[in-house]
Point group: C2
Chain length 339, copies 2
Amino acid sequence: MKLTIYDIAREAGVSATTVSKVINNKGRISEKTRKKITAIIDKRHYQPNVLASAMKGKSTYTIALLIPDAANPIYAQYLKYIEEYGQELGFSVVMCSTGSDPKKEAKHITLLKQKRVDGFIIASFFKNEPVLRQLIEEEIPLVFIAFHRPELPVGSVAGDDYLGGYVATEHLLSLGHCRIGIIAEEGTASGAERPRGYEKALINAGIEVDKNLVITTTDPTIEGAQLCARELLTNRQRPTAIFGCNDILAIGAIMAAKELGIKIPDELSIIGFDNAVMCKVVEPQLSSIDIPIHEMGRKAMGLLIQQIEQKDNTRQRISLLPELVIRQSTARLNERESI
Amino acid sequence: MKLTIYDIAREAGVSATTVSKVINNKGRISEKTRKKITAIIDKRHYQPNVLASAMKGKSTYTIALLIPDAANPIYAQYLKYIEEYGQELGFSVVMCSTGSDPKKEAKHITLLKQKRVDGFIIASFFKNEPVLRQLIEEEIPLVFIAFHRPELPVGSVAGDDYLGGYVATEHLLSLGHCRIGIIAEEGTASGAERPRGYEKALINAGIEVDKNLVITTTDPTIEGAQLCARELLTNRQRPTAIFGCNDILAIGAIMAAKELGIKIPDELSIIGFDNAVMCKVVEPQLSSIDIPIHEMGRKAMGLLIQQIEQKDNTRQRISLLPELVIRQSTARLNERESI
DNA sequence: GTGAAAGCGCTAACAC
DNA sequence: GTGTTAGCGCTTTCAC
């Protein structure tokens, strides 16, 4: 703890400068002194103080990840993979749960700027526009994950939510379903794109979008979705399929169907989105749209590091392709039942 | 970014010291200069450089949380609540996934010591004993969450796993089950305590522990547990109840039962541990043992902050009481079936 | 090849 | 009440 570069220098009979050069592989050092110094460093378990070197303009090798809710399994996965890649590169990641609250967002950003983190990854969305613009203006390395903001000069990587919504709906369509309900989540970026894909797929199939079949909820929990689904399923003309814009929403729909004695998939097909672990656990197992989260996490971290290290100005927008995963919750429309 | 305390001092026509004192509420400053200085700080959006003040021996207001796997929903919850409380107190938390790998553990600790984090919270367990002892020796603030190490002078907060195992087993016993299988996880702290509770409950009930009914797995996934459960259920004399030492393990058992056409809870009762969200999603809904994770997270953070701020030496060991949550996967033993 | 000196932005004695 | 000075541990010219 109290061991400094001077202690090492003294023991090696050289100056602190020389030791610093050895540590950072800079300048010309004779093989002999280099060996001697590294030997002493090892012996004493000397570890340079990152704070001090950061003070001299070097990086802190720390980045911040802002996510709405760390306990949400999907976000937890982003965190995992971002951290995993960061670790390989020698970066630490500080995790910030914002609870989607603009005040907390601002508080975190302020604090972390004071701590001189090298950059930020913002997941899913960000409400505090002024703070965001400030970040961009100050040219602090910044990357979005799980959403795009095409109008902003910020790199981003996300699953293609629009396409995912399209694919999910098309799957249902291909099974003969025409009356397809959708439960969407309000206020998130994906909450807008996925329904757009849904609408597009319907229109392409020559089906008019029925507003009675579209529900948007502000309570994206199983219970909240269950409520929505109940509404959908007690319609005079109930849908034969439901697209839940994420797996939680879809599971809420499964719950509602069970409650109402509606058989899945015989009388009702349900598809989710995200392909979370839960899909394999519910009964029936939930068909879903898989997003390559691992790849997203690494790509986002990669983008950020690029900005940090090379002062690189290219801002990429990366969309990763979703994939349909068919399980037991979707089936061909049973003509007799559909009446 | 480039605004320093000197810029503020100059603008206010005072010295940097005075500004520093205002910021830290130290020494005597006239109300007039204080007002003037704070006004300028606000106007210029000046934010002190935490690195620089940390260099002068102050804290970094950053702590590290080491967990085996960030994507595990249970750990993600610890993270969430620790971060939440930390934030209230002005602390950032850097998240480290160790993958239970001693090398990674060491790498993280080394790096974070270089970054002068104020302290560490280690979750679930820690393999690298030498590194751990080093940490203790250096008197770096340290707290364990989700496990105890009574022989070490380290504060810790955990659910009472022993009691939890006892309660789970007793619940099964009270329903008339005598042949109770258990699927445990190898290598974790809770992986040892929960089975101990199970054994104690059996012994108290006058039932001998049958080693054929105890399985320990190194693969704590649904699939891994499914394998174990299959083994248990294809025994010549199969158990009438299974205690999964965590919910994932219990869900694996549910899967195995379904696969073998064994009805739950009519022919087989299953209980899990942790009371994760998944319990409500599986069919039948899983009885489980609830651990007050929120409280654990806050208590752990509180313990750590105490050590950091007050150089407090009392090392508390806090055990939080688990609670039985009965759902649909456990039922009274059907005498006819039990033969 | 190596070292002396200056300074990153801040705080803590210790004057005044 | 306020300022001067020194220094945290490191890196970086620039001189030798």
